[in-house]
């Protein structure tokens, strides 16, 4: 008997005993997908969430899986491009996943959702914040562990109007899906408030070598605060050049800026910058545990959206375990009704998949780190 034959016979025997002993194939894995930007410019946003999901999956498998079934993770790279995201989604669905954690960017998520919807696959995005996603609740299996843009914009505007007491506000964005969406919400909210006006609304070109012209324009507009929608590379350049040109007005930005890379890159110019982000999770024992694991595995601190992805993975695996099956309706029901302990404390999900328990908090960069304001 050759090795292969021996192996096959052994496998058959195992399968047979499993059939006799239990009701189902105890060893058949539950497949979960991960899709996000793992290459290209936006890889830094996709890699930490992947690590987070891998950590959670590893831990669950070490404990014997979900109801005796191991969890298998299928990983797909969409490079944050919608046209690749549909390929990734099709591949995951064809691979038999029951749920997907991802995608990272809003555009690809939007493009991929119909494919998941058709196959009734649950989707939990750790980072897609576009308010246009699932605005009318058209995707009952879509969830996210991050606050949507309109929530962030509201927090920014509220802070600028009531705490900073700014009457003239310059609203800038990076012309991207995320940044421009956020900026448009902010603009509408400011105009509706009646107490302040938008004196400048402009998109800056990402990757440009110099922003001094737009800085001079802000200065001329007489703005008392700048709201910026976009990511940290443009934000740090903008702040740097504002300070260089002796423009010391407050700079309020978003979740794409509230990270350690921004502080590292902007250096002393980062001091005093405000940014919104999910509530501070660093003292939560769950956060501490996973961040520590990451540090041991990678030797560095986790990057963007790590905690959100941990939360997504924990919520999903918890719901799968409690539902007792992979039936999407049942799992979705659990996600909406039962709270689960995550880095952000106990959370559950609302009717349109929005997280209940992950709010938006305002931070300020002080002495090289973002600390909660108030």
């Amino acid at each position: 008997m050759s090795h292969a034959q021996f192996f096959l016979v052994g496998l058959a025997a195992l399968a047979f005993s499993a059939c006799v002993a239990g009701t189902s194939w105890a060893s058949e894995p539950i497949k979960i997908g991960f899709a996000g930007s793992l290459s290209g410019d936006l890889a830094p946003y996709g890699l930490p969430p992947l690590k987070a999901v891998q950590l959670v999956v590893k831990e669950i498998n070490a404990k014997g899986g979900i109801q005796g079934r191991p969890v298998e993770l299928l990983v797909e790279d969409d490079a944050c491009k919608p046209e690749l995201a549909t390929n990734s989604a099709t591949k995951l669905v064809a691979g038999g996943v029951r749920a997907v954690i991802g995608h990272i960017c809003s555009g690809p998520t939007k493009a991929a959702l119909p494919i998941y919807q058709a196959a009734k696959v649950l989707v939990i995005s750790p980072s897609a914040t576009s308010s246009l996603l699932n605005r009318d609740g058209e995707y009952p299996f879509f969830f996210r562990t991050i606050a949507a843009d309109d929530v962030q914009a509201a927090a920014q505007v509220d802070f600028a109007l009531h705490t900073l007491k700014a009457g003239k506000i310059a609203v800038l964005h990076d012309k991207g899906d995320y940044g421009k969406g956020l900026a448009e919400f902010a603009k509408a909210l400011i105009e509706r408030s009646g107490t302040a006006q938008v004196v400048l609304f402009e998109g800056i070109t990402p990757g440009a070598v110099d922003y001094s012209a737009v800085v001079q324009k802000i200065k001329r507009s007489g703005a008392e605060a700048v709201l910026f929608g976009g990511y940290h590379p443009e934000a740090s350049k903008l702040v740097g050049q504002m300070r260089q040109k002796r423009l010391a007005i407050p700079f309020v930005s978003d979740d794409g800026v509230k990270n350690d890379t921004f502080i590292k890159v902007a250096g002393k110019d980062a001091e005093g910058v405000y940014a919104t982000g999910p509530a501070d999770a660093s003292n939560n024992p769950v956060t501490k545990a996973y961040r520590e694991q990451f540090r041991q595995a990678e030797g560095s601190d986790p990057g963007a959206f790590f905690d959100n992805a941990v939360a997504a993975a924990l919520a999903l695996t918890n719901a799968l375990a409690k539902a007792g099956s992979t039936d999407p309706e049942a799992v979705a029901r659990i996600l909406r009704s039962e709270e689960v302990a995550t880095p952000f404390g106990p959370i559950k999900f609302g009717a349109k998949g929005e997280p209940v328990g992950i709010g938006v908090t305002l931070y300020q960069a002080r002495d090289g780190q973002f600390v909660q304001v108030r």
Partner: protein, 407 residues
């Protein structure tokens, strides 16, 4: 075929020197890694040895191969009777008598593809086939007429947005949008063509590049018109007499549709090549002045090249929008134009078979290079360079067409 010659001392010295040069070259970037905020330095000396060893080995192999080839050429020169005839036969696969069975096999393969492979593979193949259409379209402009166009993606965007917007505002379907996309593409082609009639070579290249960027930036910034960077979602897939299809069926239907489109493109482009216009394009490519002297209307010929090339891009754009169901300006960057241009040049300028092959290779390569994970794009770049060096005229350089006078 004899094995490689033994390396001489000179070969080894050359290899060692190459190794040393690359060790020097990659020293700062590969060995030192600094953290400017923490003020720490990591030295990765092991990388240095890898680079030195690998580059020396590659240099030695290349040198020996070259020596081997030179020796063989020398042998052939000395013994002319053993040499191959003056006109070497084309490689086995491309002899005319093999063409029919070969294309039949290829056809069967493509037709059976969805039955054999998973939906995912079908999806990738659909994308690759769309690039076949794009490559053939650009081939008209660059390969036939010799006009270097670095902004071809603009017409692709025009087609995609034509369908997206027509659906959004007027609820028009795929089959109505397809010809409109093609027409709009052609219109924009002429629009671009007029101002650049006087430009030549690389000046033309940069203006077309600029044109491509302008179209993308307008789509990005003119939110009221195009919905800006958040794009247009929920574009319907192509329908088939109102039949209700599942996602899988619809994807397979789309695959066959794309094949049909690609075949139609091949057919039309092939007919065009031998037409009066086609021959005028070749004349234009070879010598603009002589072409004019022959009484060919340069303006009309250039404009038809732009218009016809752009029309295919427009239709491919409609297909693209229907396939991804979501479009935004980020899909239409300069890099996309560059990739399509790579397809044309790699295929062999003006060769239809070559362009089809190159499109399939370049589009499927990154997919199957996924096993290389983060080294994927590194290898892709290297493959482009190596392919160009090995076959600078492209995979298939078309033989000069000769026409015998009719008797």
């Amino acid at each position: 075929m004899k094995s490689l010659p033994m390396p001489t001392g000179k070969d080894i010295r050359h290899a060692l020197l190459t190794g040393l040069w690359f060790m020097f070259l990659t020293f700062p970037l590969l060995v030192i890694k600094v953290d400017p905020t923490e003020q720490t330095v990591t030295w990765r000396w092991a990388n240095l040895l890898w680079v030195g060893g690998a580059s020396a080995a590659v240099a030695l192999t290349c040198r020996l191969l070259a020596a081997h080839r030179a020796a063989r050429a020398e042998r052939l020169r000395r013994m002319p009777d053993q040499a191959s005839p003056h006109f070497p036969k084309p490689p086995l696969l491309f002899r005319p008598e093999r063409l029919l069975p070969l294309s039949a096999i290829a056809m069967l393969f493509f037709l059976a593809f969805p039955l054999v492979f998973s939906t995912y593979q079908v999806n990738i193949m659909t994308t690759a086939l769309m690039y076949v259409i794009l490559g053939l379209g650009l081939n008209i402009v660059v390969g036939f007429a010799g006009l270097l166009d670095l902004g071809y993606v603009a017409f692709y965007a025009v087609g995609a947005y034509a369908y997206g917007l027509l659906h959004l505002h007027f609820d028009l379907g795929f089959w109505v949008a397809l010809p409109i996309g093609g027409l709009l593409g052609a219109l924009f082609g002429i629009l671009l063509g007029f101002p650049v009639l006087r430009l030549r070579g690389d000046y033309l290249a940069i203006v077309t590049l600029g044109f491509g960027e302008i179209i993308r930036l307008i789509l990005e910034n003119w939110g009221a018109f195009s919905q800006g960077p958040s794009g247009i979602a929920d574009i319907p897939r192509p329908g088939l007499f109102g039949l209700d299809m599942t996602l899988d069926q619809s994807l397979i239907y789309q695959y066959y549709l794309t094949i049909a489109m690609a075949l139609a493109t091949v057919f039309v482009v092939n007919r065009l090549r031998h037409s009066r216009i086609g021959r005028a394009w070749f004349a234009l490519r070879e010598d603009e002045i002589a072409c004019q002297a022959m009484g060919i209307d340069k303006t009309a010929i250039k404009l038809t090249a732009f218009a016809l090339g752009a029309a295919w891009a427009g239709m491919a754009g409609v297909l693209f929008a229907a396939k991804t169901t979501f479009i935004n300006p980020a899909s239409f960057t300069f890099l996309e134009s560059a990739i399509i241009l790579c397809i044309v040049v790699l295929g062999g300028m003006g060769s239809i078979t070559g362009v089809v092959l190159a499109a399939l290779i370049l589009m499927l390569l990154p997919e199957y290079l996924r096993a290389l994970a983060e080294y994927r794009m590194l290898v892709f770049g290297a493959v482009l360079v190596i392919m160009m060096i090995v076959r600078p005229r492209g995979l298939m350089s078309p033989p000069r067409q000769t026409y015998s006078p009719s008797r």
